[in-house]
């Protein structure tokens, strides 16, 4: 990865970043890990073009892009990097396995202002963890080392929304971390990197589902999770009036 001022090279593209505005190198952190995957860019999802967001949008309240890719095991991996109202950097990686795999969905969200970094990190299980303890052990418990390391970062707090708490794994973390302390900033970046790196490792090791009934259940649960996110996503709700329904629908399509 070569850093060219406000741009980084990722796969065959040059992506604008916002480090020169004083924001942390979160896109660089994401891309460094994702660069190890064989990502194929996609322009349509569920029969709808997402080219507008892939090419990047520039509106008074929202500047940035959503780049969506696929791999042999993932139906989509979306990288988002946007500036809201010229003062908030929002960056995210959301990865959803394709119907042959049961590994959890990856959700990493980073929202940064001059004083605070808001984070959400989780692996959203595609199984009922009560009935499938082995799933938790295989895909989620490896996160314990990182969850334990970062759970007491200043500003960590329970998520406010019941709809999201019901989807989350036992290793979900979220909070608003103050930027005053260099250690907090470094730890926030490491948290993102550790969750992403481990998920990529789990993805590499994942085997396809062989049982048809199980596959059907995983698919149904994934569809339900997607529906819940699309109906409730708070970021989309707050942006709706600023950028309009067309952009929001596309944004949700890219993300979930």
């Amino acid at each position: 990865m070569v850093d060219h001022g406000e741009q980084i090279f990722f796969k065959s593209e040059t992506l604008p970043t916002f480090t020169e505005r004083g924001f942390q190198p979160i896109l660089e952190t994401f891309c460094k890990e994702l660069d190890t995957l064989e990502l194929q860019p996609i322009d349509t999802i569920e029969g709808k073009s997402i080219k507008l967001l892939r090419d990047g949008i520039e509106r008074p309240f929202l500047k940035g892009y959503f780049k969506t890719y696929q791999t042999d095991k993932c139906e989509k991996i979306t990288i988002c990097n946007c500036i809201l109202m010229e003062r908030i950097l929002t960056s995210a990686v959301i990865a959803i396995p394709n119907d042959d795999y049961e590994l959890p969905m990856l959700v990493l969200e980073w929202s940064e202002t001059e004083s605070v970094i808001s984070v959400v990190v989780d692996y959203i299980p595609l199984m009922d963890l009560v009935m499938r303890e082995d799933y938790r052990v295989k895909y989620l418990d490896p996160l314990d080392q990182y969850w334990t390391k970062y759970k007491e970062l200043p500003g960590m707090a329970p998520n406010r929304f019941a709809w999201s708490r019901m989807l989350f794994s036992p290793y979900h973390l979220s909070g608003h971390i103050p930027k005053q302390d260099e250690h907090n900033i470094k730890a926030s970046l490491e948290l993102m990197q550790n969750y992403l790196e481990l998920w990529i490792d789990l993805c590499r090791k994942a085997d396809p589902i062989t049982d048809d009934t199980h596959k059907k259940y995983v698919k149904a649960r994934k569809a339900q999770i997607r529906k819940i996110f699309r109906e409730n996503d708070e970021g989309a709700k707050s942006l709706l009036q600023m950028v309009g329904k067309e952009i929001i629908d596309m944004l949700l399509l890219c993300s979930f």
């Binding site: 009922d128 963890l129 009560v130 009935m131 303890e133 938790r136 989620l140 418990d141 314990d144 759970k151 007491e152 960590m156 707090a157 329970p158 019941a162 709809w163 708490r165 019901m166 989807l167 794994s169 036992p170 290793y171 979900h172 973390l173 909070g175 149904a220 649960r221 339900q224 999770i225 819940i228």
Partner: protein, 247 residues
């Protein structure tokens, strides 16, 4: 004597370091006039005999315990009790489990009070996968939202450290260990939360619950209930002897 024809010892003793909140008494006031019967045997275990064994074990640990078990048409096992551990911690425990023909959430709760801290764990554990079955969440859980929000200050900033517990919990779990404070107002708030969850569960959930009709759903619910119970029995840090009673 209550409608249950039981006199439960609900008076927590004063300890040297603090005067505990009388939480068992507050719970008993709600339960004593409910249409319950004493439970004498569960899963082949004679409760009276087991209670004596537990009491003996507790004595060896310089501790004491009072536990009472009930049942009703809809509830297969309801447990209310308290224990004083080494004359310095008072733990009040409550758990309620539906009979096999009902799918309403189980309710495990405990509150531990010491001189410096109070721990509260209160939840209503769903007996289905609430991601797939959103009707279950709407029917049984969403009504808890106002109560949950009322007691958010009791939550720890980071969730309960036990991953198995977090995997079982509902979105409305209250789990926290705030400082008791010099006026012990936080302890009173934790006790109020415990009582409010219990009251809502009995009056809004259990009272309105209808038997399951779909055999496949019933089979799944009972499997899930058994899994949850097994997790508590194997992993609850109260362990034996408390774990035995919580089951």
């Amino acid at each position: 004597m209550s409608k249950l024809k039981l006199d439960m010892n609900v008076e927590l003793p004063a300890l040297e370091e603090f005067q505990p909140v009388q939480l068992p008494e507050a719970c008993w006031k709600i339960l004593r006039d409910c249409d319950f019967e004493p439970l004498e045997e569960f899963e082949g275990i004679n409760i009276a005999e087991n209670r004596e064994k537990v009491k003996e074990k507790m004595k060896d640990m310089d501790s004491s315990m009072v536990m009472n078990y009930f049942q009703s048409e809809k509830i297969e096992k309801l447990c209310l009790g308290w224990t004083v551990i080494m004359k310095s911690i008072v733990v009040t425990m409550f758990s309620g489990w539906p009979r096999d023909n009902y799918d309403f959430p189980a309710m495990p709760m405990d509150m531990a009070e010491s001189e410096k801290h109070v721990y509260i764990g209160a939840d209503l554990v769903p007996l289905t996968d609430i991601v797939i079955n959103d009707w279950y969440r709407e029917k049984y859980l969403d009504g808890f939202e106002p109560l949950y929000k009322q007691y958010l200050d009791l939550l720890d900033p980071t969730p309960n450290p036990m991953h198995w517990f977090r995997a079982i919990s509902s979105p409305y779990v209250i789990s926290g260990r705030p400082e008791a404070g010099s006026d012990r107002a936080v302890v009173k708030r934790a006790s109020d939360c415990f009582v409010a969850y219990l009251k809502y569960w009995l009056e809004e959930i259990v009272a309105k619950a209808e038997p399951m009709k779909d055999p496949a759903h019933k089979e799944y619910v009972n499997k899930r209930k058994a899994k949850i119970r097994d997790e508590f029995r194997r992993k609850d840090p109260g362990g034996p002897p408390l774990g035995d009673d919580f089951g």
